[in-house]
Amino acid sequence: MAGSIRACAVAGPSIEGDVVTDITAPLPAENAMPVRGGLKRFFTAFPPGVLLGLFWIALMLVLALGADLLTPYSFTAFDLKARLQPPIGMGGALNHALGTDELGRDVLSRLIMSIRMSLLIAFFGTLIAATLGTALGLAAAHFRGRIESVILVLIDFQASMPFMIIALSVLAFFGNSITLFVVLMGFHSWERYARISRGLALAANEQGYASAVRQLGAGSARIYGRHVLPNIASTLIVSMTLTFPEIILLESGLSFLGLGVQPPLTSLGNMVGYGREYITRAPWIMLAPSAVIVLTTLSISMLGDWLRDRLDPTLR
């Protein structure tokens, strides 16, 4: 990414008069169309949808990080006098801005804690999936032979079964704990990273820069750490913007079924599942977390699309 910005800044006249003929070098978006004023250029680079998405993600991060300070009440505190109190706008009062549930627990406070839980799970899940998948993909590309075949069979298996089913059976066999659950989420879509990193590392090993550096006498640590990983990082990061919302959806689905995050802990899906019992009398209990799920996955997907166009036009 730094490279593409430099490209327009320093591509001066070259010595020996041979023209720069490389049409594959990424053209910065700013140069692609006539520039009319700073504001327009800004919105060309950052479309309003992306800005809104970024704003929403930032808000979610602030809520998640500052959850302890920002929750007006403890998320488990009962307020029996104010049970099923509607939110502001549906006839509620200021003390419970998003209303309360049937035990009088503050929906806003529960929502903030749920956001924290869901984001944490998605964050660690994504991290595990990316690390595991990349490591396996690089191992397949490095060792080839039998190790590669085994990894490919694993990839095939993972891709041919809906992960929801795998996750459900593991939960059935092992029971549920929050650690197991996070690790389990980390097994979602690892095969995507394994595929990507194997493919890119193979290409680099066959003909490209990696074989050139190996030929210089470099060891594997240098080849993968200095060259291959930095080169595939942008592709992996773009993939992470796909995995993150997928894990949010998977986690909330399982928690909604009562098989994910267990009370007294709470997550977004958990709240929806719980609120569904009160859908007639107090729909706000399920509407608030549902809206958060949709907006968060939407924002991250939009951010991911935008990143993909900027960082890695070759991906899909």
Binding site: G3, R6, A11, E16, D18, Y209, L216
Partner: protein
């Protein structure tokens, strides 16, 4: 005669491929990419390796550098066999022999400034070298290949094709090797740039007493740069000899056909052979006997029976052809 810098004996590389089917259901076939070739490169001299694409010349280049394990035969560098990849001896040998690639953009890391990449061999082989010294060496090497100091900060895609190839050269030369294997080093460049890079290679050879293995399908350039030339067809050497005489008076029908494709090279010769017809045969299913017989205008019945070996002609040239260099002529090609 002095000792050759690089010597290959009966070098072969076979690939096992599967045909018709996936998994255990296909039948396996041997693809002889390189099939028993012998050659030698003297210090400070250039061996040109020519042939159509797919004839095994790039594989030969990688075998010569030990970047790929040989199925048979051996390569000796400076009298010693090539070391196993990853060992300390291998690392030491790497410093003395380097590779220059056809696609410099692919051979360079897109995410590192080229100055860093030129200095990388020093980081690998001399980790203790002070940074200032390394930067000085990089600057000197860049100057030697005709790059400006400010290019060091650029990324590969910000340079022109010719500049990138200079970067690759500088990176290969910074360890002061004695042998460069250049695999189609100019074929990806604009014609106007090709001459500059060729001249640079010639200058460097003169200054540094470098030996080159110059792999190319561009016969004009090979003639300009090479002292000796080996012509390959389907994994074998069909003609091998001193460059000037080989180009002036090609013996093997394949060499003749290749040269006929460039009108300016063959000046006289009453019956100019026709340029080569058709495509090379499938390397996995080579014809019996001489591999070239299917396209050879002078093929005889004998050519279909046995493959001709290399025979030494009067001028020291080696030719593998039943018609031009029949068996009784000489026996002694080693």
């Amino acid at each position: 005669m002095s000792q050759p810098l690089l010597e290959a004996r009966d070098l072969a590389r076979h690939f096992t491929i599967r045909q018709g089917g996936v998994g255990p259901f296909g039948h396996k076939a041997q693809l002889k990419a390189v099939d028993g070739i012998s050659l030698r490169v003297m210090p400070g001299r250039t061996l040109g390796l020519v042939g159509e694409s797919g004839c095994g010349k790039s594989t030969t280049g990688r075998l010569l550098l030990g970047l790929m394990a040989a199925s048979a035969g051996e390569v000796r560098f400076d009298g010693a066999p090539l070391a196993k990849p990853g060992t300390a001896e291998w690392r030491a040998q790497r410093q003395a022999m380097q590779m220059v690639y056809q696609d410099p953009l692919g051979a360079l890391d897109r995410r590192l400034p080229v100055g860093r990449q030129i200095g990388e061999p020093l980081e690998i082989h001399h980790p203790g070298m002070p940074e200032a010294e390394r930067l000085e060496r990089v600057r000197a090497e860049m100057a030697a290949v005709g790059l400006q100091p400010h290019h060091a900060e650029r990324y590969p895609h910000e340079l022109s094709g010719g500049q990138r190839q200079r970067v690759v050269l500088a990176r290969a030369l910074i360890l002061q090797p004695r042998l460069l294997v250049c695999d189609e080093p100019i074929s990806a460049l604009d014609v106007s740039i090709q001459a500059q890079v060729v001249n640079l290679l010639l200058d460097l050879q003169e200054q540094l007493n470098l030996a080159y293995v110059f792999i190319s399908h561009d016969l004009k350039v090979v003639r300009q740069i090479s002292h000796d030339v080996a012509v390959m067809y389907l994994g074998r050497i069909v003609e091998y000899g001193e460059a000037e005489s080989l180009f002036r008076d090609p013996q093997h029908p394949y060499t003749q056909a290749l040269l006929a494709a460039i009108p300016s090279v063959v000046r006289h010769g009453a019956a100019r052979p026709a340029p080569i017809q058709g495509d090379p045969p499938d390397p996995a299913n080579p014809p019996s006997g001489c591999a070239f017989r299917t396209r050879c205008p002078r093929a005889t019945a004998l050519c279909a029976e046995t493959a001709p070996g290399l025979r030494i002609l009067a001028d020291g040239r080696q030719v593998a052809c039943h018609v031009v260099a029949p068996d009784h002529l000489d026996r002694a090609a080693a």
